[in-house]
């Protein structure tokens, strides 16, 4: 008698479902792999390469073609001139060749010994080139009637050049110089300290201000919706618009904030808010708090509105004062969302680039790690060093995430 029992293993239905699932996910996985995973691997690769901004263009053969001498009448003997050069002063190009078409009606009188003529097809093999090589090839030709009739000139057919050059990005030349360069000097530790200050105070500040705002709006009154919308403005507006508005508001020469402070007698001369140490760092942190408090406010408010009001009534009956209710009832309830927000905001503040870049450009002691990536890669034109900083950032993040993921998964179902 056959054994009766539940089926074991994966049945055909389950297999089909899994196949469908992977099919639906395939586009997303491909896109993410192309734009996130691949660049991440590339960053590691580049960080060990001596790459400068200028090296991004692979060396190539640049050629120009013109006709020298008269070609107005039958029997004229002008020269077709090809001028070629290696665009790079550092990299050699191997196996340089070029091909072109000689227009109808021109008879080639003499051929350079590196070139071949097959009908009207000209092909030349110029061999290997040292960096910065220049070559000129002259081909004397005789003008025939057909040339004058057709009006096709030698320049009209584009000469095709080939040649293989090894790009720094793909050859097997590696260096540790990028890392030694960014780790050396006090600069790196200053960058690290600025990053930590900005991240920690920006995160905590935005949380506390957001909590305060949420407490204000956690009651229904007329206009509550309007205020809630209003308080989200800083987050919704484009960062570039609000950053420039802040810059103009706090401008040392014609900013309203300075004029106001002088008028109120707080200061006698204008303060350069975004140009002085350590004020600039404090200001960018304040900007970060200003711009992101709406986010924490929104989350905390959502959580507050889901707290059961019965508890507060019971606490009221027991004689708990408003501050006691806040401290002993609300805060424990909010702790979960607060810690999740802290962890997420911590990482995102750490990653923040646009804000500081727009406000100070990383000057006046506000250069964080992310701004340093840009600074190294584009201001100093050293892509390799920029990538090395990016690797450091990635390492930090990996540490944070491994640490945080353990906790996040338990809280609030995130």
């Amino acid at each position: 008698m056959a054994e009766l029992g539940p089926p074991v293993g994966t049945g055909p239905l389950a297999k089909r479902e899994a196949r469908l699932a992977w099919g639906l996910l395939f586009p997303t996985i491909t896109a993410v792999a192309l734009v996130v995973v691949l660049p991440l691997l590339a960053i590691f690769w580049i960080s060990f390469k001596p790459v400068e901004l200028g090296d991004l263009r692979a060396p190539e053969v640049v050629q120009r073609e013109d006709i020298r001498g008269d070609d107005e009448a039958v029997g004229d003997t002008p020269n077709i001139r090809y001028r070629l050069r290696n665009s790079s002063q550092e990299q050699p190009i191997t196996g340089v060749t070029f091909t072109d078409t000689i227009p109808e009606g021109l008879t080639v009188l003499e051929l350079d010994d590196r070139c071949d003529l097959n009908g009207s097809a000209l092909s030349c093999d110029l061999g290997d080139w040292e960096p910065g090589t220049r070559e000129t090839i002259m081909i004397p030709v005789e003008v025939g009637q057909a040339y004058l009739d057709n009006g096709v000139r030698p320049q009209d057919s584009v000469a095709i050049t080939t040649g293989t050059a090894s790009s720094v990005l793909t050859n097997n030349q590696f260096t540790l110089e990028n890392f030694s360069r960014i780790f050396s000097g006090d600069e790196f530790f200053e960058v690290l300290w600025v990053t930590m200050f900005y991240t920690v105070f920006g995160t905590i500040g935005a949380l506390l201000v957001g909590l305060f705002a949420a407490l204000l709006l956690n009651k229904s009154f007329r206009g509550q919706g309007i205020l809630r919308g209003l308080y989200l403005f800083p987050y919704v507006a484009p960062v570039i618009a609000v950053a420039f508005a802040w810059l103009i508001l706090f401008d040392p020469f014609s900013g309203s904030a300075n004029a106001l402070l002088v008028q109120m007698g707080v200061t006698s001369e204008a303060i350069n808010f975004f140009g002085e140490r350590p004020l600039a760092l404090i200001m960018v942190t304040v900007f970060e708090i200003w711009r992101y408090f709406p986010l924490s406010f929104l989350f905390i408010l959502a959580r507050m509105q889901s707290i059961d009001s019965d508890m507060y009534e019971a606490a009221d009956m027991d004689g708990a004062s408003p501050f006691q209710q806040f401290w002993y009832l609300s805060v424990p309830q909010l702790l979960g969302i607060l810690s999740v927000l802290f962890l997420l905001r911590f990482i995102w503040t750490f990653n923040k680039f646009d804000d500081i870049f727009l406000l100070t450009g990383g000057n006046a002691g506000t250069r964080t790690l992310t701004v340093n990536v840009y600074e190294q890669a584009f201001a100093v034109s050293n892509i390799g060093a920029g990538a090395a900083v990016a690797v450091v950032i990635f390492g930090c993040l990996l540490t944070f995430s491994l640490f945080f993921l353990k906790y996040i998964s338990r809280e609030e179902g995130l």
């Binding site: 586009p27 209003l230 507006a237 484009p238 609000v242 103009i248």
Partner: protein, 402 residues
């Protein structure tokens, strides 16, 4: 000691007067450009007196009117909580004085609602403090949010010499008529902002559609279908959030430079959706999980395929969520700056944010910069205010990329 009614009233009154006089002075300065300034010492003094009087005499209508009038008169004769320079016009001074007096009398009466002479119980005391903090909070938040936007709009309507002459003067000279909007006119006629506006809009809308096309099937698979690796997958979506854009931007810049995609529309349209797909997928899968599976199962039983179920049952049920996600993605794409800044050099392909960045030079007057900012801010604000419900939901559900 603190919980004595008189002390509470006086202290809260003094602090509240400081808050109000600073607020009114700043508001009057910004509105008229005339020198108004609060006097902290006098504010403390008169505020304490007003608070004490309200506790002692009760909050009858006559008392309130008396306090308000007293404050207004003190301000006008020049020994009140707010001082104004002689340049200020009589009307502005009178208006400021009356506003401060009225605001103080009315709002302090609310704050000191249950405060009576003699000992207060803990409840009454804390309630008064909380009402004070609440009032302060409303003023504080409204001010910090509105001032930068106010400065942005007003600066865009002025010209360079007016700005340097008196940085506080934001009053608008309506007699100039259409001349007021000169910066906007120049941006659209000479700086191609019409094109930028169109580019931004086009790229954002395309981003929304591409994102949805990728995220909807993905989110459905993660939320509904069983396959090995499902849990790991939904966890790793969060991890992708945590990769900073600047780290990705560098290799993307290199790759685009080498393939010639830099400076092209399609390069941007290829990159933007990938930055938003993980957020959208995460938001949508949360919503799909909340939908009852029975409806879909009924559909399956009736012979629909999975894809037909998604198209005919799941999507119509999740229209509100789709609206939230679309708005949120639109906002991200519209506000995106870093990639546009790094990948676009050709002025005919600029997005708005990139266009504003190009205005940031010493040769271009600042009102142009601010007018550009206003142009970029107004559409997203209009969408936000019109569809605030969806937007707020989107922001919350997105668990939010910053």
């Amino acid at each position: 000691m603190m919980r004595n009614g008189y002390v509470t009233g006086a202290v809260l009154g003094a602090l509240w007067m400081v808050v109000l006089s600073v607020t009114v002075a700043i508001a009057m300065s910004f509105a008229t450009g005339d020198p108004f300034r609060p006097s902290i010492l006098l504010s403390l003094l008169w505020g304490a007196a007003g608070g004490g009087a309200m506790v002692a005499l009760g909050r009858e209508r006559m008392v309130l009117i008396g306090v308000g009038v007293a404050v207004a008169v003190l301000v006008l004769i020049g020994i009140g909580p707010m001082l104004s320079g002689s340049e200020a016009g009589l009307f502005a001074r009178a208006f400021g004085a009356i506003a401060l007096g009225a605001a103080f009398a009315v709002s302090l009466a609310v704050i000191l609602d249950e405060v009576v002479p003699g000992e207060l119980n803990r409840h009454e005391f804390e309630a008064a403090v909380i009402r004070f903090l609440t009032g302060f909070g409303y003023i504080f938040f409204t001010a910090i949010v509105l001032i930068p936007f106010y400065v942005m709009v007003m600066t865009s309507l002025k010209n360079q010499s007016e700005l340097i002459q008196n940085p506080l003067d934001f009053s608008i000279d309506f007699s100039k008529g259409a001349e007021l909007f000169r910066s906007y006119d120049e941006l659209f006629t000479q700086f191609n902002f019409g094109t930028y506006l169109f580019n931004s809009f086009f790229i954002s809308v395309l981003t929304v559609f591409i994102t949805l096309a990728f995220a909807i099937p993905g989110a459905y698979a993660v939320a509904r279908l069983r396959f090995s690796g499902q849990a790991a997958f939904s966890r790793s979506i969060l991890l992708i959030y945590m990769v900073p854009m600047i780290v990705l931007a560098l290799p993307i810049y290199i790759a685009f430079s080498m393939t010639g995609l830099r400076n092209s529309f399609w390069g941007i349209v290829m990159i933007y959706p990938v930055t938003t797909i993980p957020v959208a997928l995460y938001m949508l899968q949360g919503y799909f999980r909340g939908l009852p599976a029975e409806v879909e199962e009924a559909g399956l039983m009736d012979g629909l395929t999975r894809l037909a179920v998604i198209w005919k049952i799941t999507l119509p049920l999740s229209l509100p969520a789709l609206a939230s996600v679309s708005l949120y993605v639109f906002m991200i794409a519209w506000n995106e700056f870093l990639l546009a800044f790094m990948l676009l050099d050709d002025p005919s392909k600029f997005t708005l944010t990139r266009g504003i960045a190009s205005l940031n030079s010493s040769e271009i007057p600042r009102q142009h910069l601010m007018a550009g900012s206003v142009i970029a801010t107004v559409p997203i604000m209009a969408i936000f205010l019109g569809l605030e419900r969806f937007m707020t939901k989107g922001l919350t559900a997105g668990s939010v990329k910053g």
